[in-house]
């Protein structure tokens, strides 16, 4: 268990400079990722002083209007007036002490300002206010993951899993973080538990099998002596299209009762998404999760030369505590192969119907296949 040092913790949220965590691409790979945006187009459009004056007036007119408060903070953020955005957010929080959206907004702002300790205090207030709420723990884990603090995210997910021991999606998320922290043995154990549990919904079991295959591959690479056993284990997973694919994309998000969708447009211009799950190039979307958290996964066993556009769309929101959706897209290139690359791309969606282009995957001609 992590111990916090005495006096203000220098322990860090790697809040800045974590646009996309990635394993380096081998020189031989024909696949590469170009990171896109983390917020919807237009989220950073210029904001004039006149716009801000109007927004301030709206807040003054109705101090309880959360929408007006949110818009003002966001506008100040977009305008690069971070200190003012913090002031506006603090004023909102002072009047609306238990609103989790503003709590998280403050954390985001402190993060951008490089005030790591403050960011951690602000974010962590979510679980202080809702200590027995698994979804609050999960939302905080998401923020911490995005800030690069995987260790803290892992703790929050562990706490959430204790509160919701039967939540298989949560278990999947915990396994995912364990894998990303390099705890492959633990990730294997957790994923095998998910896959082996007959109560696991197929929408979770299938991505778990995919991830388990990745873990087996990694373990085989780490311990060549075990390679045969791992291959056997992979075979038993009976993955459609096998466990070695050019492109694998996972989408997860942090809100319950909401629907975020993964859109992947292949080089032919064909969009593979919930209404069109099977692409003409043999690529496919596995399942459409409409009740929060994901995961959704996209697989292109054999990528065609050109560009794959990876987008996330906020389809709908239910009655969750936090209406904003944020999460991660994990892109695995050369899955199950010696040169496997992994790119983690955080995103944020503020409103229903928002869409953000998180990455472009370029596929060069020729290559290993």
């Amino acid at each position: 268990m992590r111990k916090l040092p005495f006096v203000l913790l220098a322990a860090a949220l790697a809040l800045a400079a974590t646009r996309a965590a990635a394993t380096p691409a081998p020189a031989t790979s024909r696949l590469s990722v170009i990171a896109g945006d983390r917020e919807p187009a237009g989220a950073r459009d210029a904001v004039t002083d006149a716009d801000l004056a109007k927004l301030r007036a709206a807040v003054d007119a109705d101090a309880k209007d959360r929408g007006a408060r949110f818009t003002l903070v966001r506008a100040l953020h977009r305008a690069g007036k971070l200190d003012e955005a913090v002031t506006a957010a603090r004023a909102w929080r002072a009047a609306d002490a238990y609103n989790l959206v503003v709590v998280r907004l403050l954390g985001d702002l402190y993060s951008e300002l490089g005030q790591r300790a403050q960011a951690r205090r602000a974010y962590s207030a979510v679980v202080e206010l809702l200590p027995k709420d698994a979804s609050a723990q999960r939302a905080l884990a998401s923020a911490l993951k995005q800030s690069g603090d995987l260790e803290a995210a892992y703790e929050r997910l562990t706490a959430a899993a204790l509160m919701s021991p039967d939540d298989r999606r949560l278990a999947f998320e915990l396994a995912d973080v364990a894998q990303r922290m390099g705890r492959n043995a633990e990730a294997r154990q957790r994923l095998e538990a998910i896959v082996g549990d007959t109560a696991t919904p197929e929408a979770v079991r299938y991505p778990a099998r995919q991830r388990l295959a990745q873990v087996y591959h990694q373990l085989a690479r780490d311990q060549p002596a075990d390679a045969a056993a791992m291959d056997q284990a992979i075979a038993l997973l009976k993955l459609t299209g096998g466990s070695e694919n050019d492109i694998k994309i996972y989408l997860t998000w942090d809100t319950d009762r909401s629907d975020v969708d993964l859109w992947v447009t292949n080089p032919t211009g064909e969009r593979v998404y919930y209404q069109h799950k099977q692409g003409a190039l043999g690529d496919a979307l596995y399942d459409d999760i409409t009740t929060g958290y994901g995961p959704e996964s996209y697989t292109a066993p054999s990528a065609r030369p050109g560009t794959y556009l990876v987008q996330v769309n906020y389809f709908g929101v239910g009655r969750g505590n936090i209406s904003e959706a944020r999460g991660e897209v994990v892109i695995v290139l050369d899955e199950g192969k010696p040169g496997e690359q992994r790119h983690v791309l955080p995103y944020r969606l503020f409103n229903k119907e928002d869409t953000v282009t998180v990455a472009r995957i370029n596929v060069a001609r020729g290559g290993s296949r």
Binding site: M1, R2, K3, L4, P5, F6, V7, L8, L9, A97, V103, A117, R120, R121, A122, S124, A125, V127, E128, L129, P131, E155, A159
Partner: protein, 925 residues
């Protein structure tokens, strides 16, 4: 009177000599200090005859304060702003008061409870105090003029904070306040504005929606004691003067430690009993009925110790009667037990007077007043017999409560450690600055200031602001000066509540500072870092210091900190009001003034079954009594004993607690249920389980409310089981047949002998062996539970008739609860007789000797002819037993020749109660 110095025992002389020496050197006195329990010894110190030289200043008074000065025998009022000198006696009535001994507390400060009377004196050695009546509290700092109290143990020099109580033998009982802070509540209440106590208030709203307090025409407080508990019923009669029907909110402050057990409201002239209903259902039924313009009432917890009752409708120009019932422990007095009841009318808002107030305790009127304004503080002595072991038998099993008082020997030499004797303290305050403390911050800061304000000049402290990170307020521990305390508070005030709570990090940080004590002030819920109870307990244990936790805030929980405090020798308290903060400060700052058992646990014997509470570690101070309650399911044997374990200064101590001789007592199951509900809550038990336990035992939980409906039909309509009604019916009209007892071989219940002397006779009841219980209630109120006696094939009970019992006829009531729940009651008469029969003896010459006759005479004390044996001792030593010819008549023939000279015979007479008399009969005169 002489100086205390010349009359005290040698031991006490030594103590005072030390004080005098210390005074001469200008340093703090080093005399003995009060311990946590009753002082032993027999010497009594007389006070010097000179009255107080220092002026006595009134600091605050709620009651009437009077003093006697010099040689003047008259009582004169002591008023604010007019200090009085030469005071030799002070008394306070109705409500308490605070006085300073000397300007600026030169010799300390006194808190006097209503009914207190103190004698004060002063000579060159210092000030002397003796409690003549009631309770008071004394505080003296080490630097103040010496003060000694005339205790049973001689003169006790006081440094620190002590509670004083007058004993029947004229001495003063002295207790360390820190060991028993709850006993100081009355004094703490004097320092804070009165927000209401003892009685409820009803605020009504009409069409205007503006609330208005209704006049309280009458309050009847009816109290019945049972064992160490008091069952209080407070009946309020409000009056709605408006010409419109209104809806109202009745608020009632339940005393600390009370179990709210019921409520009733007058509806259409009939008092309707409330039922415990699942909270959401109760609300739904209430709303539905309000819509239908009928009469419901819904009682729910509001905040702190206040309960709220929604009342509708309150008819125009009419009275509304509301009854609240609760159970509280009796207060342990210096010489016995007392029922404490405080009426506090709120100083702002609410009802300002009570038209008529009556307080009745066990049928005796303790107070009867009209137009009561300003409140009243009563401490009514109760002549109750509190059994060490109490029992209540119910359908679901037996509930056995035992009062566990650790033997003084367990504390060894640690019982008398005093405030002045202790080494300087290094106090670490872990101050929760997390987001959840947003609303509780003012109370937290008050706790900080009050607690640090209790420290001595040599004590040091450091404050750790704790949320996801830990920040120290200073680079090293600082002396507990007023300015340092102000600085620490300002430091914390500058930290906006934010973040989660990393309790583990805070405990680790505190440990690194090698504290003598750790104070925690926060909501007590870890939300970051280490969350597990066991690892956190290990971190706390590593500190090796007592942990005192003040749990503050809406989501505050004692769940973790009660364990940490219990293991370490500290206390965990919920703090909701200023008075709680003051109590905590006393406990935290002065808890070390008395010996204590840390990590005290109670356990059932191996193999015994049952659920025992308390089931967690706790701290027991010298003089503490813990009530342990075990529920044994029906059919399982009640455990024979419990074992108390713990450690005193690192040495393990053990005490066996026997459960034999249990006396049937009311509310034992309810007491158990309160702790059971808390345990269920802590374990996040399913709501349904908590609701069921609450309803089964008639104790409110956070998931239940008390709902009063207008009629039995209304309860039926809303599918609410009438448990209260059944209980009432059972209590008021038990099934009395006696038939089943008669059919058991025509054997009668018997008391043998039925004419008895004081002593311990026995009652035999031939009830079926499988009866759930056989309980005998004696005329003086005591109840005893009969035990099945295999040898006589009957239920037996022995009891004790006090030697002071007047001769006469009495009846014992026997209640048999059969296996199927049916109750039978029968009455057994018996006679207490302590007078030997008076007899008239005669001897008549016959042909072959003398006919000796004995005839019982009626006396003023007894007209009963109850002599049953008359024996005559003949000259040769032979015994002649006279035969009984009728009630009170005996005769026999002594065959002998005529007496040549007078002969004196000794006659022994005995009655049914075995009273015996020896008489003389002279023959041949």
């Amino acid at each position: 009177m002489k100086s205390l110095l010349s009359t005290a025992s040698i031991r006490n002389l030594a103590a005072l000599g030390a004080t005098a020496t210390a005074l001469a050197c200008g340093s703090a006195p080093t005399a003995r200090h009060p311990d946590g329990a009753l002082a032993g010894g027999s010497a009594r110190a007389d006070l010097p005859s000179t009255p107080l030289r220092l002026p006595l200043e009134l600091v605050r008074a709620r009651g009437v304060v009077r003093v006697r000065t010099g040689a003047d025998p008259t009582w004169r009022p002591l008023t604010a702003g007019t200090p009085m000198t030469a005071v030799r006696e002070i008394e306070v009535t109705r409500q308490g008061a605070i006085v300073a001994i000397g300007h600026g507390d030169a010799a300390g400060r006194l808190w006097l409870r209503a009914g207190a009377r103190l004698r004060l004196a002063q000579d060159d050695q210092g000030v002397y105090v003796e409690a003549l009546a009631g309770k008071s509290r004394l505080r003296r700092s080490a630097a103040a003029i010496p003060v000694a109290v005339a205790s049973r143990d001689g003169a006790l020099a006081i440094t620190g904070d002590v509670l004083l109580a007058a004993r029947n033998d004229g001495t003063t009982q002295v207790l360390a306040t820190g060991a028993r802070p709850e006993l100081a509540d009355w004094s703490l209440g004097l320092e804070h504005d009165q927000d209401g106590a003892g009685i409820g208030r009803l605020e009504a709203r009409g069409a205007s929606e503006i609330g208005e307090p209704l006049a309280l025409r009458k309050v009847d407080v009816r109290v019945k004691t049972a064992g160490d508990l008091a069952m209080t019923e407070v009946e309020h009669v409000f009056f709605n003067p408006a010409a419109e029907t209104r809806e109202g909110t009745f608020r009632f402050p339940v005393p600390d430690g009370a179990i709210l057990t019921g409520m009733a409201m007058e509806i259409s002239g009939r008092m309707m009993e409330g039922e415990i209903v699942e909270r959401e259902k109760a609300r739904a039924v209430y709303e539905k009925i309000v819509d239908e313009m009928q009469d419901p009432a819904l009682l729910e917890w509001e905040q702190g110790n206040w309960f709220k009752l929604r009342v509708f409708p309150i008819e125009a120009s009419s009275e509304k009667r509301v009854v609240i019932r609760y159970t509280t422990p009796l207060a342990r007095d210096a010489d016995g037990w007392a029922y404490d009841f405080t009426v506090g009318l709120p100083e702002t808002g609410g009802t300002s007077t009570i038209g008529a107030l009556t307080v009745t305790v066990d049928g005796k009127v303790a107070a009867k007043e009209t137009n009561v304004a300003g409140g009243l503080d009563l401490s009514v002595p109760v002549t109750t017999t509190v059994a060490a072991v109490m029992r209540e038998v119910r359908a679901d099993g037996t509930y056995t409560a035992v009062r566990v008082t650790p033997a003084r020997s367990l504390f060894g030499g640690h019982a008398t450690a005093g405030a002045g004797a202790r080494p300087p303290r290094r106090l670490v305050v872990v101050f929760d600055t997390s987001r959840s403390t947003l609303e509780g911050r003012p109370l937290q800061l008050e706790l900080l200031r009050t607690t640090l304000g209790e420290l001595g000049d040599r004590d040091r402290f450091m404050v750790l602001a704790s949320d996801v990170a830990v920040v120290a307020h200073a680079t090293e521990m600082v002396a507990a000066t007023p300015s340092a305390i102000t600085d620490a508070a300002a430091f914390l005030d500058g930290i906006e509540p934010d973040g989660a709570s990393d309790v583990g990090a805070a405990l680790a940080a505190a440990t690194r500072l090698s504290p003598t004590d750790i104070i925690y002030i926060g909501d007590g819920v870890p939300t970051w870092g280490e969350l597990g109870k066991a690892p956190l307990a290990a971190l706390a244990a590593a500190a090796g210091a007592p942990i005192h936790a003040a749990l503050v805030g809406k989501g505050a929980s004692t769940e973790l900190w009660a364990d940490l405090a219990g293991h370490s020798g500290g206390r965990a308290m919920m703090v909701r009001r200023s008075i709680d903060a003051a109590r905590f400060a006393l406990a935290a700052a002065h808890g070390g003034d008395a010996g204590r058992i840390r990590n005290a646990h109670l356990a059932l014997d191996a193999g015994a079954s049952g659920v025992l509470y308390p089931n967690r570690a706790t701290t027991l101070w010298d003089g503490d009594t813990l009530v342990a309650i075990v529920h044994t399911p029906t059919g399982a044997p009640v455990p024979a004993s419990l074992t108390l374990t713990g450690d005193v200064a690192g040495s393990e101590v053990t005490q066996q607690v026997m459960l034999a001789g249990a006396v049937d007592t009311a509310a034992v199951a309810q007491r158990w249920a309160v702790q059971h509900l808390a345990a269920l809550d802590a374990a996040d038990a399913p709501r349904e389980e908590i609701v069921k336990a609450s309803q089964d035992h008639g104790v409110l939980s956070r998931h239940t409310s008390l709902l009063v409906l207008e009629s039995d039909e209304a309860y039926k309509l809303h599918q609410i089981e009438r448990k209260k009604a059944e209980e009432q019916q059972l209590a008021q009209a038990p099934q009395v047949t006696g038939g089943d007892l008669d059919t058991l071989g025509a054997r009668q219940a018997s008391l043998s002998p039925d004419e008895i002397q004081p002593g311990d006779p026995e009652i035999k009841i031939p009830a079926p062996r499988d009866a759930r219980s056989v309980i005998v209630t004696f005329p003086w109120g005591e109840t005893k539970v009969a035990e099945w006696d295999r040898d006589v094939d009957a239920w037996m009970v022995r009891f004790l008739i006090d030697k002071d019992t007047a001769d006469g006829d009495y009846q014992a009531r026997v209640t048999v609860t059969h296996a199927d729940g049916r109750v039978e009651v029968l009455h057994l008469g018996y006679t207490v007789d302590t007078v030997a029969p008076a007899m008239r003896l005669t001897a008549t010459r016959t042909a072959d000797g003398y006919r000796i006759e004995a005839r019982q005479l009626a006396t003023t004390s007894s007209r009963r002819k109850d002599a049953d044996r008359v024996e005559v001792v003949l000259p040769g030593g032979e015994i002649l037993m006279l035969a009984q010819t009728s009630w009170g008549r005996f005769e026999g023939l002594w065959k002998t020749a005529a007496a040549a000279a007078p002969v004196t015979l000794r006659v022994v007479v005995r009655d049914h109660a075995l009273n015996q008399a020896a008489l003389e009969l002279v023959i041949g005169q």
